[in-house]
Symmetry: C2
Subunit: 153 residues, 2 copies
């Protein structure tokens, strides 16, 4: 039970509930909330998959056809700076972005459809201490990602 409790997959905010939160965050940091930004925010906030800049561009242009690709890059830059999105690294593609979560969590990625889930509760402390003792390194951070096949695939 104790060990069970240490791992949790996040019951995240529903994807559409993110939109007003992100919009507020942008405004509260002095950024204007413009139509092209809203178009980008809507796509990224609602996606359960990590998306490339060009994928975001293509999808957001459906709602806002005048959008320029540069604005996608610039909006992603701001969303990343505010920790609202994070980059997802995969063997073949490290240029994709997904909505972030608060605190320290890890990614579980479907190798088939790209669907992403977060989880937390790794127990790496003991491992890290051993590696530190063995190597003389001081460990300050870690990446853990699981890859597999999601329920739908």
């Amino acid at each position: 039970m104790v060990s069970r409790a240490r791992t949790s997959t996040s019951a995240r905010m529903s994807t559409s509930a993110r939109i007003p939160v992100w919009e507020d965050a942008l405004r509260q940091h002095g950024y204007r909330l413009t139509a092209p930004r809203q178009a980008v925010v809507e796509i990224v906030a609602e996606s359960g998959r990590a998306l490339n800049p060009t994928e975001i561009y293509d999808r957001a242009r459906v709602a806002y056809p005048r959008l320029g690709l540069v604005t996608v890059y610039r909006t992603l830059e701001k969303l990343e700076e505010l920790h609202l999105v994070q980059r997802v690294h995969r063997p073949d593609n490290c240029q994709a972005f997904i909505a972030g979560v608060e605190g320290h969590q890890h990614l579980l990625i479907c190798q088939n459809c790209g669907r992403v889930q977060y989880f937390s509760g790794d127990q790496l402390e003991a491992l890290i201490q051993r590696v530190e003792a063995d190597t003389g390194y001081q460990v300050h951070d870690h990446w853990l990602q699981l890859f597999g096949k999601c329920g739908e695939c």
Copy 2:
């Protein structure tokens, strides 16, 4: 003691001992062992840090000035295919390569100087089972990387 034994940092082949091994592997797969390839192999096999194609290019040209950057890319392609090198992903740079190791191991990377060490013996089985149960995903693979500061830094 049991848990200690499950974690090990690899007492790897000395870096220079890799060179003949890699050269044999290339030959045995039908690739010719040419001077430009040898220059690339020597740099990558002997490096304790992950190197970009252009870093490899610059270093290898010291020994073989006629070398073209394209040959660096092509040689890396073959070394990766033979699992002699692997790509190292970092927050800011996913285009660097380091000598691989046999079997399943993980990377420990110095954030200051880029020095890389391998370790094995994570105990993720229980965590993975829990995440699978919670999410309905089937986990087939994982990435674990530690970042920190090495003894020299």
